[in-house]
Each structure stands twice: as C-alpha cells, then as structure tokens.
Symmetry: C2
Subunit: 309 residues, 2 copies
C-alpha cells in the first residue's frame, strides 16, 4: 500500500488541522501509511492549541499529485475548497460534516459524513467504535477543534454528540475545557495584528439573495471596542472589496465570544432592509446588536434569505 | 420527528431490498420512525429469499414527496437511479457502496459509504458497532444480499468484510450459506419465464468507449444452454435495441454461477476487437468463453476500456 496524504480545506481553521492529524493517526493505527498535511499555515488560534499540546504544525502543500496517487479529505468535500490538483489524484476517504456539493468520484470509496458541529466529534466517535486509544495531545487538539467550531458549545450548530465528545476529550487531555477554551478563543482574536481586509474578509462568504449579492464576514473578539475603534477603516476596506468584486451589500458579524452576542456592521445597498430582517432599525453608526447570535449559518443567513429571498 | 421512507434503487435487486429493510429496522431501534419501501417489485431471486425467511416484500412507491418530507437512501446515490421526485424531499441518510456521482445536498446529512461488495455488509458492521441485535429473518435477508452481489463470494468485488459478514449472518440465520446460496441463485435464473428483451437488457448498462457506444448486459444461469438455445432470438432482440437506442455494439455476458465462468455473446460494430480485448478470436457463433470471469465492473469493462478507450 502506497502512502496517502490527509488534509482539510484551504484557509485552514483549527478543526481542519486537528481532523487531518487525528484521522492520519487513526488510519496509521489501522495499518495505512498516511501523513497529515495542510493547505496553509495555521491561524493564531490553531497555533495556540498546537503550542499548548506541544505538537508540530502539519507540513504545508500546494499540490498533491506530485507526491501521491491517493488522498483522504477531512472537513470538506467541495473540490474548489480542496487542493488545486484534486482531479489528478484518487480520493479514497472523506470525513466531513458539511453538505455534499460537487463531489464526484470514479470509484467507490469510504465516506463518513455526520451532521455534527465539528469533524473532530465524528473522529472521536470513530476512535471509540474501533476501540483505538487516543493520545492525550491528539485528544487536546480535537477538543480545541470542537471548542472552536461550536464557540465553547454555545453555537446553535452544537449537537449532543459534540458535548459528549468535549467532556470525554477534556478528561483525556487533562484540561479544564472552559478555562482552556476561553484562553484558546482569545488567542485567536488578536485583532491588533490583523489588517482591515483580514478582519472583514478573512472568513467571508458570498450569498445571492433576490437581486442582491451579499458578502458576509465574521470575526470573533473578547471586546467589541477592539473592532469598532477601527470602524472607519473597516468600512473603507468593505467599500473597496464591494466595488472590486461586485458585492451589493457587505455585512460584518462581530461576535463577542465571552457573552455570545454579536453586532452586525452593515454597508451598501438595502442596509436598512438587512437590519429589519432581524427586527431592528439601523442606527447612525450602521450597526445593530443581536444578543445570543453567534452562527452565520444558523442565525444570520436564514432570516436574511427569508427577508431578501 | 416525522416519519421517513427508506429505499434503494430502481429495478430493485436483492441487496437494495434487503438493505432498505435492514436499515429501516436499525433506525427504528435508534428511535427514528421509518418504513422500508421499494421502487419496484422484487425479482425472482429476492422473492425466493423473502419466502425462505417468511418476510413480506416492501410496499412499492412511485413518488416520495406525497408521503414524507425526508428520506434515507440505500445502495445508490445517483439521482437518476432514485425515486422520480427526489428533488422534492430532503435526503437525511445515505448508506452505499457505489461511487459518488451527481449527488448534492442543501444541508449536512449522515453518509456511510464503504467500498465493499455489498451494502448489507456495511449494515452488518453498523449493527455490530452500535451493538444492535439482528433478528434471524433479517440476518437471512442480508446474507441473501451478500450472496447475490458477490455470487457466493466468488466475484472479484468480494472483500474480506463481505466474507466475515456472510459467516456471521449464516450463523444468525441458521442456514448453510453454500447450499442456501446456490438454491437462491438458481431461483433467480428461471430464464424460461423471461422475455428475450429481459434477458439481454434487464440488467444492461451503457458505456462510451472511444467512438463506440457499448451496451453490456449480464444474465446468470446454471446451464449456458438454457440461454444459447435461444441465441437467434436473443440476437434479434439485441439488434432491435441497438437500432432503437443508437448502440454501436451489444455484449451479453452469460454467467454460469455453478462454475463461475462466462460466455460473451458479441454483436455489432468492432465485435472482433471486443473479443481480442480478452485475447480471444470471435468464433462463427459470435461467442467467446472466459473462464473465471463473473464481474462486469471488474473483469469485463476494464479490458474493454483499455482496448477501445
């Protein structure tokens, strides 16, 4: 059996890195020869987790076919989120928690997809099902991934599976998950080091709603003032991205991870209508406050789709 | 939780029926409310298995959205092999052993895909993983499915997983799998009752290779003469189907399930080249004999793709 590479999506987050490491370990225990790699450098939050558990970041690759014939995907299945030359290799395994979109294969394969908050939760259950022991450091990385994807189990994407995995992994890793999780999330919100473009667009996605092309970004913080002290500059960055890319409207979700509230900064066409989708009036500061809102997918996109259609 | 329907592909075979029944039972044990249904009546082989284990055939449906909002797919994922109104329901679960082709979802879901010889083997492992007991009759249907898909473990599609499942399921069902399996396979080869079109096209698939459109059918028998006594009529049926549907070449694989050999009946364009793809010269009877060949997917299509591709 020849070596296979295991990797997650582009712009890697903590789950994509942790899942590649954990799944590679799992497969190697079963007799495969695999290596966890990444499609980019770890972000500040992931670096904090790797440092805490004394693990090295996976090697970064640009292409796969120059090294291997076969690969395993974690935390994504859409080809445009994957390695550039995915069409030149065979995908033999997929572990994911996203919808299936544009993923086709020439041959049968292994796929384990579950609608959980985090891929590391699926992997935790797979280790249990096969009775494979998890080393403490790897358990710590998987714990970090679930905390990251579910914002410390507070996001509405959180399932009971994610909660049970967090409790068990925290024991294995030997950490207090609430204290450790807050420290890790804080480490990922070092906004002073980030450019205006990074803050508004680093995690942004595009949505077509009615006649509008909306760009919706999200950034986590422990103090909303850290973001809004720069509001004038952030608005400039949003305006530039809109005219460069043809977005009609730009929404930046600024989420306070300490109390699980968000402020939305809304610029461009129909900004009032965006605010009204949440039952709010847009203030002179172009912001609305949404207590309890932390999930773009579950709490921001659905009311907008409903209102703008 | 509202009721969901569980079903396999159109033109149901023993695996598609058994897998729907077994997965519905599995999900009901986990607290879902599901019903196994089918997209057509069971064939002779499946009827033999249902009768043997005293089980009723699943209800046949034409459409799903008139009954339910959500469905679970087994033994297929390609929309064109599924219920006609698949786009009007949400697929929440998929258990399959085929390649992924054209299957997209709007939301995350459960998918368990493994490259085994049979879906019932995947389900057998899932029952084990969740420690759910299998009733003897259901174990018998799943055993029948694996025997059918792997031709009594002789097809090259057979994996070690399929073998282990057969040994365990035969014990649970209380049958001698070799004797029972041969009886079941024989029951599926009652060719006297089948029309010429059924024999040549009942299980046929279309392949594009180079400039040629090939139609490749397959039929199982316990005596090649049962088929070739009708050769002149079968050739007429093949010629009609070719001119009606624009196939250039028609290959009928006639497989003797007792000794795991096949004769290929080849008509149309490049028939000599088709024979030569297997290192054979086409005789005056338009047939070639291929000892040990039983799998269209693994043993017939690859040499043809290589020679005509």
């Amino acid at each position: 059996m020849s070596k296979e590479l295991v990797f997650g999506h582009q712009k890697p987050d903590t789950d994509t890195i942790a899942a590649a490491m954990a799944y590679s370990y799992y497969q190697n225990q079963l007799g495969y020869e695999t290596e966890a790699v990444a499609l980019g450098e770890p972000n500040d939050e992931t670096k904090f987790a790797l440092d805490h558990f004394k693990l090295a970041a996976p090697r970064v690759i640009e292409t796969a076919a120059n090294e291997v014939d076969k690969v395993m995907l974690v935390d994504h299945n859409e080809p445009q989120q994957s390695v550039a030359d995915l069409d030149k290799v065979q995908v033999t395994h997929v572990i994911d928690h996203h919808r299936i979109n544009g993923f086709n294969t020439a041959a049968p394969l292994y796929m384990n997809v579950r609608p959980y908050g985090c891929v590391s939760t699926i992997l935790f259950e797979m280790f249990e099902e096969k009775h494979i022991d998890l080393p403490a450091d790897l358990a710590g990385m998987m714990l970090s991934a679930i905390i990251s994807d579910t914002l410390l189990l507070k996001s509405p994407t959180t399932t009971d599976h994610d909660k049970e995995a967090v409790y068990a992994l925290a024991k294995l890793a030997g950490v207090d998950y609430e204290q450790y999780g807050l420290d890790m999330l804080k480490a990922g919100t070092n906004l002073a080091a980030k450019s205006d473009n990074d803050i508004v667009d680093g995690d942004a996605k595009t949505f077509e709603m009615g006649d509008l092309t909306l760009r919706i970004g999200q950034v986590n913080t422990v103090d909303l003032n850290d973001v809004f002290a720069r509001q004038a500059d952030l608005e400039k960055a949003m305006e530039s991205l809109m005219s460069e890319n043809g977005y009609d409207t730009f929404v930046l979700i600024v989420t306070n991870i300490l109390n699980s509230d968000s402020d939305l900064l809304i610029v461009g066409k129909e900004a009032d209508k965006v605010a009204q989708a949440f039952g709010k009036e847009l203030g002179a500061n172009k912001r609305i406050n949404l207590p309890g809102v932390v999930s773009r997918k579950k709490q921001v996109v659905p009311p907008l789709t409903e209102a703008l259609g």
